[in-house]
């Protein structure tokens, strides 16, 4: 597809505000540059296309249906959600292929999952027999089998079966269950160990196939290792979330540059209590306490030697002792946050811009979808 199509799609969803300049936006606020967003989408889609990988973006980073559309229109096979409620928002918006990488448990979620499966191509993951039992009980008389992938712990110590043999055993339970179809293997690999994870999945796939079970999809992911995904031989699909916006943690890992960060937080200097300190109106309610191993709570490209040294809920403390520039009360600054995804869960809308042009706001429709 052409970039113009993406543009047309995204701009359709923008609410006009009448604001013309970024400096006019009331703070604290989230600003998303759509030019950078689209370039990020295009760059990794091209990479996946070149390397024969299906791309399935995780919507947790943006939580905005229009951006999910742009990702699918650019060539993604579908999207990845973590929660049934997120998937509902995306299905409402017309996204056709959704993978929920979570053990879905409990009567209410399972009932919603069943209804969701009736209106999109839905896949889920499971790492235990109890979850599979609940899924099977829910889907047993459905018109269409629910696709279930086995979640594998390939070293990241999140969820997942612990061995390739356990993956095969759970695959057999899924394949035998009425209403379910075994659809493959899923992992979130440990950072820097994508190829070891690939080997693990290769062994599990062989074991499954020896039991007569095909693995149509082997899905791995992670933005930090995304530029090394071409080395994976078993993996058929790659999932990334943060790549769409990028953030300070990914700059630190060498995955992107500051110029490739699409999301920033606009904040105002509200106090200059001392010569070397400023206080911003962006605290942990805006930036979150996520450090991700970094020092300070964000990067201000215009004040490269200033450090956001601490946060309270509504205050960010800016250490200016090493900074030549000393912003005054009322000045606005743009912050590249440590972690973009968690910011999207704090704001009901973001301000869409292209460079210095302000387009309007976009609703973060899947914000707060916890269940």
């Amino acid at each position: 597809m052409q970039g113009d199509d993406v543009l047309a799609r995204l701009d359709k969803y923008i609410n006009q505000t009448g604001i013309k300049l970024i400096e006019e936006i009331d703070t604290p606020a989230v600003v998303v540059d759509l030019d950078i967003t689209e370039a990020n989408i295009r760059r990794f889609q091209d990479y996946c296309d070149r390397n024969g990988l299906h791309l399935r973006p995780h919507i947790k980073t943006h939580k905005i249906p229009a951006i999910a559309f742009a990702q699918v229109k650019a060539g993604a096979v579908g999207i990845n959600c973590q929660k049934v409620s997120e998937a509902e928002v995306m299905a409402d918006a017309g996204i056709a292929d959704i993978l929920i990488t979570y053990n879905i448990l409990g009567a209410e979620k399972l009932a919603r999952l069943r209804r969701l499966a009736e209106r999109c191509t839905l896949s889920v993951t499971a790492d235990n027999a109890h979850t599979v039992e609940g899924l099977a009980d829910t889907m047993k008389d459905a018109d269409r089998a629910l696709r279930v992938l086995v979640e594998c712990d390939t070293g990241a110590k999140r969820c997942g079966v612990q061995t390739p043999e356990a993956a095969r055993d759970l695959a057999k339970i899924i394949a035998a269950a009425e209403g379910l179809s075994f659809h493959g293997l899923m992992t979130y690999p440990p950072a820097g160990h994508n190829t070891e994870a690939d080997d693990w999945l290769a062994r599990a796939k062989t074991l499954c196939e020896e039991s007569g079970l095909a693995c149509p999809v082997i899905t791995s992911g992670g933005t930090p290792d995304m530029w090394r995904a071409e080395n994976l031989s078993s993996v058929t699909e790659y999932r990334v979330g943060t790549y769409v916006y990028n953030d300070r943690s990914l700059i630190a890992k060498g995955v992107c540059t500051a110029a490739e960060c699409a999301l920033s937080v606009l904040a105002t200097v509200v106090s200059r209590p001392t010569a070397d300190h400023a206080v911003l109106d962006a605290g942990s309610k805006t930036l979150t306490s996520d450090l991700l191993g970094l020092e300070g709570f964000g990067l201000i490209p215009a004040l490269p030697d200033a450090t956001i040294s601490a946060l309270n809920e509504e205050h960010g403390y800016l250490d200016l002792s090493r900074s030549v520039a000393k912003p005054e009360v009322g000045d606005k600054v743009r912050i590249i946050p440590n972690h973009a995804c968690v910011i999207s869960n704090l704001f009901d809308r973001v301000h869409a811009v292209r460079g210095t042009e302000v387009l309007g706001t976009m609703d973060v429709s899947a914000r707060g979808c916890s269940q």
Copy 2:
């Protein structure tokens, strides 16, 4: 007032859900025990009444108008907000006396502040002349002067003028400004140094009075030191937020017991990848990354030897190596979070209970009010 009146007030705002048992609530979810909430409100109101202090609760902890009403009805002189948008929600709900402890800057916020001042008794704080100038420009032709308090940094290194002399100087600017009236001094004192802050404020008050400026209100605050507020001689008003719910950080400081914590997070065990680990469906999108100096991301009273050792956005990792009890996939647990206030900013509604009785949900109407 009688406890029954508070009860009547709160129950009026509850939305029926049909859920009867806490175990039926879909997870992750926030559960607020109204019996404990009301007892917390009553206990500190009684303390303030006994000690001749006005109580002005900060609504940041609950963000729920009905609970603000309960606080005012119990005897609070008004409420404290941090943002204009929070104050708008509370004024919409009929709260009559609101203090915004923030430097309000920028055309949009100032215009909203002006409208807000027309429909409630409003006070704000300022720590710099630029802020006072904006306030004066906004209020110069108003029917009623806006009350402005000088924010004082008494050692906490947040916002605030740095010396009692600077407080007096700013007070004079406020008093001389058309549309504003100097209303007193405000501080958020450093933890454990409430009495030093009180001395600081006494000196500033004397300086103001020597300049012919009365200080009707001297307001300090902080839940960690709230049981030592009777030692303050200058302070006329005390502001507390977290006391309404309490949390794990306050248990650690000896301010409350676990039984006095009104807010908990209900989570489900979604995976048991190994014998010593469980994964909960409450991650940083639910509990936040706030540690507040503690080890682990929350306390599970039913599993006192289990540690919530790490979080991803949608996963909480439970170390069961020292726990005799080993919850299974599908089991639900209640978590007392490290920091209650930040949880309230993540959920659009909470489930109100009284002990084991589920009453329904309450809307967190001021959630996400960042501006």
